[in-house]
């Protein structure tokens, strides 16, 4: 079992290399990718099940015990996210053929896709700070490949900004690894956690922790570091945006969740209080962005940001309920963001435009898409009994419990505004007289709708059948707050 845990990282890497050999034979590439993706999901599901029912699995790579080798740690949080991301990824693979031009598929879409999944899984599972940097680079490199796919003029322009911001934060990452190594002399997460707990001179440690937080915050798109996100997520193909929206920022927030529950919990009065303020601002400014535009895709893109705020809120509150809320929200948001980008892609194809002022009455011709979008909007806004509600409920409970009234009110207001931003699309775009020039390609729109339907069903399930999921999430929150289990499992003490 210990060595199998590395499969979610290695399998996609191998797949990405294999699929690079026959990029022009699209039929084979598609079939291969679909089968591999499903297989990968099955593997992830099995491993997740194993970890949930048994215990955390650690692979010490090359047989070198932590902290000297690199530990790949499959704990319940990691496996939950690996599973979720492979599900979203599989949906994207089935979405891709209808969404992409053949040219784009031929130029290594599938290779970059698998590379991305490999990097994302690796980032979720690695137990080593520097190795986390490496996986970040893997997934970023894949995302660079995906974002420039198609080579549009505007696409390249926005890609350049995207790459630049990520490059800068990566360099900052290396630098903060340097600082952390200087203080603690180690890069293994569990070992770091242990050593940080023993340090007396903590001022500089807090500062370094904040620098590291900013590294992750740039990737996670937290206020005020998200400038790169909106436009660079809008320009690529919807399937790429869906992958980015569902997975990339989540890796950033996961890293914050991991590092600031496992390692840097020595001065929560400073670090986590900063998170609370930033969470508030992230929610507000994100939703303000979502209300500022008539570009439907940009509305969805901006809605990534307040969701990140919600997750950061849980980390900042740092109680069991709130952390459970963050984890639930994280899982839910990966699924629903994927679904929403899929629907928006279908909407753009159906309406032939991204401009909300130019589309009306789409629901009359595409009722399924319309209703799915409507439900997805409710899910996003956290209306019960869907999955968004459970996470939000926990976060609000945590917030009120800690007497962070302003934070809770901001969270509630931004939920309302999120709903408003989504209803603008529904009321103005889907309702109304049927527009002229609406697409007749029902088959393509249907193909673009089905993967979203699958994700949306999962999301609805996560809400209505929360009982089948929540106890696991609660266990994860417990585990995150009680660090000893992680440390002792990895360090074998």
């Amino acid at each position: 079992m210990n060595n199998l845990i590395v499969l979610p990282i290695i399998l996609p890497l191998v797949a990405s290399v294999i699929v690079a050999f026959f990029p022009k034979k699209l039929n084979i590439a598609r079939k291969f990718s679909q089968i591999t993706s499903v297989l990968l999901t099955a593997v992830a599901a099995y491993l997740a099940w194993y970890v949930f029912t048994n215990e955390t699995v650690v692979m010490q790579s090359g047989g070198w015990d932590a902290p000297f080798g690199i530990s790949i740690v499959g704990d319940s949080l990691s496996m939950l996210l690996v599973l979720t991301s492979s599900i979203v990824g599989t949906a994207a693979i089935f979405y891709a053929p209808s969404a992409l031009e053949e040219q784009q598929e031929k130029f290594y879409f599938y290779t970059f896709y698998f590379l991305l999944i490999s990097g994302v899984s690796g980032a979720f599972m690695t137990g080593d700070l520097f190795n986390l940097f490496v996986f970040f680079e893997v997934l970023l490199m894949a995302s660079y490949g995906l974002i420039v796919l198609g080579n549009g003029k505007i696409q390249l322009r926005e890609s350049f900004k995207y790459v630049l911001f990520n490059l800068f934060s990566s360099m900052l990452f290396v630098t903060s690894v340097a600082f952390i190594y200087a203080i603690t002399g180690t890069v293994n997460l569990a070992h770091l956690a242990e050593r940080v707990g023993e340090i007396e001179e903590q001022g500089i440690l807090t500062t370094v922790a904040i620098v590291l937080f900013f590294v992750f915050a740039v990737k996670a798109a937290i206020f005020p570091l998200y400038y790169w996100l909106p436009n660079s997520y809008v320009v690529p193909n919807p399937v790429v945006s869906a992958l980015f929206g569902a997975l990339l920022t989540k890796v950033g927030i996961y890293s914050i969740l991991r590092v600031f529950t496992l390692i840097f919990v020595h001065d929560t009065g400073v670090t986590h209080q900063i998170f609370i303020w930033l969470a508030m601002l992230t929610m507000l400014f994100g939703v303000i962005g979502a209300l500022s535009t008539n570009n439907v895709k940009l509305i969805i893109t901006y809605n990534i940001i307040p969701a990140i705020g919600f997750m950061l809120m849980g980390v900042g509150l740092f109680t069991e309920t709130a952390i459970a809320g963050s984890v639930y929200y994280l899982m839910h948001d990966m699924v629903i963001k994927g679904a929403l980008f899929f629907f928006i892609g279908a909407l753009i194809v159906a309406a032939g435009t991204k401009d909300l002022t130019k589309m009306t009455g789409v629901i009359q011709k595409y009722p399924l898409l319309g209703w799915l979008f409507f439900i997805a909007s409710l899910v996003l806004a956290g209306v019960p009994p869907f999955s968004g509600f459970i996470g939000k409920l926990l976060l609000l409970q945590g917030g009120l419990d800690q007497e962070e009234f302003l934070l809770v009110i901001v969270a509630l207001v931004s939920s309302l505004l999120i709903l408003f931003s989504m209803m603008r699309i529904f009321i103005r775009g889907f309702w109304g007289e049927l527009m002229e020039g609406i697409s007749d390609n029902r088959k393509r729109v249907r193909n673009l709708t089905i993967p979203g339907l699958v994700l949306l069903s999962i999301s609805v399930y996560l809400g209505i059948a929360a009982e089948s999921v929540y106890p696991h999430i609660e266990a994860i929150a417990n585990m995150l707050l009680d660090r000893t289990e992680y440390i002792s499992t990895v360090l074998k003490e």
Binding site: M141, V148, I154, L156, F160, V163, M171, V174
Partner: protein
Amino acid sequence: MEIIMTVLASILFATGIYNLLQKQLLRIVIGTVLVSHGAHLFLLTMSQLKRGAPPLVVDGVTQYTDPLPQALILTAIVISFGVTSFLLVLAYRTYTLNKTDNMEELRGSEHE
């Protein structure tokens, strides 16, 4: 010596950032290169300099320089190289398609 090297790495950071804040594509790319040099130097410096022989096993030598940061830097250099080459080509393609190398003219409010 570590202090001087820290200062040098900071200078690399500062000049890199200054270049990043310019308008021309070339300068911006150069900025990233300088910043990554700075980051690598930090990594080396932070693990103390010259505390022993080069990390090549030689009989009789017990004091070696910390090999781990060197390995990390090596990885980082190679990765930076990959990303930088990509960025270079991207910058070049951006220029040829958009007909300008001035980022301020590449703000863009319209979307495809």
